[in-house]
């Protein structure tokens, strides 16, 4: 995937005053391969909705999300799953882990689908982020911060051209934020991928090429 475009997107549910003045809503934004974008958005501005629009989870908006000219709204279920398997990875704000399954199962379910990282690399990532000892523990028994790190490691197991992160560090301390950010940027660089980080405020240790305010 060489580029993706956010073309005049206006959520159906968003008040007009929130659209006016936004650097994303109702704008034509071209993001090239390898760019690092930071989206800064206050609560209630439609931050998570934007992430869901890009990931193809929701269609309640006007405008287009185009990947190499193809509108994500027109993707079939099969095409969308293939896209999520090989071209786009995500860390959800609500993490979306399997609560009953162990941290390892949560990570492996993504790695086995289309492996990019080796199992050794996966072990390394968990060690780096301090969750290696939690690998065989059910996700629901991990703290929110640990779950956040599990979700980050899971997102880094597959090949991708675009990585979308929705408030990925909200429950991480500064040390873990730094480690996670460095790891993510390393993985993004290894794939020459585009990175879109959405958060309430600017994130330290992230050298964004472009900052957009929602």
């Amino acid at each position: 995937m060489e580029s993706f475009v956010l073309k005049n997107i206006i959520p159906d549910f968003l008040e007009t005053e929130k659209v006016i003045g936004s650097e994303i809503w109702n704008q034509d934004i071209l993001i090239s391969k390898g760019q690092k974008i930071q989206v800064i958005a206050p609560s209630g501005s439609g931050k998570t909705s934007l992430v869901h629009f890009i990931y193809g989870l929701r269609k309640d908006y006007n405008g287009q999300v185009l990947f190499d000219g193809n509108d994500v709204k027109s993707f079939s279920a099969e095409k969308l799953s293939g896209f999520r398997r090989s071209f786009m990875s995500i860390v959800f704000q609500d993490l979306r882990l399997f609560p009953e399954q162990t941290a390892r199962q949560n990570i492996e379910v993504k790695r086995l689908l289309e492996p990019f990282a080796s199992s050794e690399r996966m072990e390394y990532m968990t060690a780096l982020l301090g969750i290696q000892s939690k690998l065989d523990q059910p996700a629901k028994l991990c703290s929110y911060g640990e779950q956040q790190r599990i979700a980050i490691v899971r997102a880094l197991q597959q090949p991708f051209d675009l990585l979308v992160l929705d408030e990925p560090f909200s429950h991480l301390d500064e040390s873990n934020r730094e480690k996670a950010m460095l790891l993510i940027q390393e993985e993004v660089a290894a794939r020459n991928a585009t990175m879109l980080l959405v958060d309430l405020k600017p994130i330290e240790y992230f050298n964004a090429d472009r900052i957009l305010h929602l």
Partner: protein, 396 residues
């Protein structure tokens, strides 16, 4: 990497509702076993009864005689040509043919190997009424060799008294090898000998049958009679127990071979019972499949969140559904395979111990039974596949 069921089984709530699953499987096994057994029994009944009765193309062949009563005793109770024509004209009788007997003295002996000699009666009937008709069953004037079709019942009777008389018992296969000297006596006592040999054994007609051409010629030449009235008439009818036929027979005071009629009735009843069992087993299979489909629906409903998340993470709904569906193929194969083996065992026991391994019935299941098992397997897998696909795509 291809997704294996093991990768995703932990995300499915397969352990739920085990009782429903177990009942579904047991029900399916019982249903398949019942269906295979009823199909096989239907085939068995057809094969066994065909050898005894011979309904040809769905018709019954019955012998008619005029009842001999105190009133008509002493008068001629044979069928005239007009009688035969009247019988033929009835709508419930498809066809009729007179059974003509010999009007001269006939004697048979079997030479020195089987020291046996007897006066006998010969009869002939139109070829189309014969259940077994070898190509050699014909005769031309001047031919010294006379083919004979012998009644299976007579052979059985012979085999009953043969040991007591010091005579060898004969099988259907070996009787053809016996050389019979057929002696025909003219009205003045002159003897003409023919070489007789049994070319077939008939289950349908209790008689010693010779070709029509021979008996017509012999009656004319030895008995000086042409157009011999028939002592018996064979009729071909679709329903031997039909009301029309029964009332006609009663009205004309004709007597029928009741055993054959009863036997036909028994066969009808047996086939009816087996068909009902087959219908019942189809119902059991449908119920079992429904029960199992409830289990699948429940499993997918309970795993709904996990399955939806798997698809959100990039698991293709069609790959996911075929992976889940494939999981059940070995289960169906084991259930249907076991039912097949059990049906084979039951058939073998039936063949060996109930009908004493008679050659007319193979000890193995009929190919149609195997085909039914294969069709059931395909059906189960297809229904399962379709159901899972439908359920999973509803989550997209």
């Amino acid at each position: 990497m291809a997704v294996a069921f093991n990768h995703i089984s932990v995300f499915l709530n397969t352990g739920q509702n085990k009782v429903s699953r177990a009942f579904g499987f047991i029900g399916l096994g019982i249903g398949v076993l019942l269906l295979l057994c009823s199909v096989q029994m239907y085939i068995n009944i057809n094969q066994l009864i065909r050898d005894r009765d011979t309904p040809k193309n769905g018709y019954d062949f019955i012998s008619l005689t005029k009842s001999v009563t105190n009133e008509n005793m002493g008068s001629d109770t044979r069928f005239t040509t007009a009688d035969v024509e009247e019988i033929k004209s009835k709508s419930f009788i498809k066809d009729a043919a007179p059974l003509v007997s010999n009007q001269f003295r006939a004697k048979a002996s079997a030479g020195s190997i089987i020291p046996f000699s007897t006066d006998l009666f010969l009869e002939s009937i139109n070829d189309k009424f014969l259940d077994t008709l070898p190509t050699t069953f014909n005769w031309k004037p001047g031919q010294a060799d006379v083919p004979i079709i012998f009644s299976a019942d007579f052979l059985e009777m012979y085999n009953v008294f043969a040991p007591a008389q010091g005579l060898p018992q004969l099988s259907e296969a070996s009787i053809g090898a016996v050389n019979i000297i057929l002696e025909c006596y003219g009205s003045l006592g002159q003897k003409t000998s023919y070489q007789g040999h049994i070319v077939a054994v008939s289950d349908r007609i209790n008689s010693v049958l010779v070709p029509e051409e021979f008996l017509r010629w012999a009656n004319k030449n030895f008995g000086n009679i042409e157009n011999v009235p028939a002592s018996r008439v064979y009729i071909k009818t679709a329903d031997a127990n039909g009301a029309g036929l029964q009332s006609f027979l009663q009205q004309k005071n004709y007597h029928v071979n009741k055993d054959k009629v009863k036997f036909g009735r028994v066969k009808q009843i047996l086939q009816g019972i087996v068909s009902a069992l087959g219908g019942f087993s189809v119902l059991v299979i449908l119920l079992a499949l429904m029960l199992f489909s409830f289990y699948l629906q429940l499993m997918i409903a309970k795993s709904k969140d996990n399955l939806r998340l798997l698809m959100t993470l990039g698991y293709s709904p069609s790959v996911l559904s075929s992976t889940v569906a494939k999981k059940w193929i070995p289960v169906y194969a084991i259930i249907i395979g076991s039912a097949l083996l059990l049906a084979q065992l039951l058939h073998f026991i039936f063949q060996q111990f109930y009908i004493n391994g008679r050659e007319m019935l193979s000890p193995f299941l009929h190919p149609i039974s195997l085909l039914v098992a294969v069709i059931l397997m395909i059906l189960c897998v297809a229904i399962n596949d379709r159901l899972i696909k439908k359920l999973l795509f509803s989550l997209v």
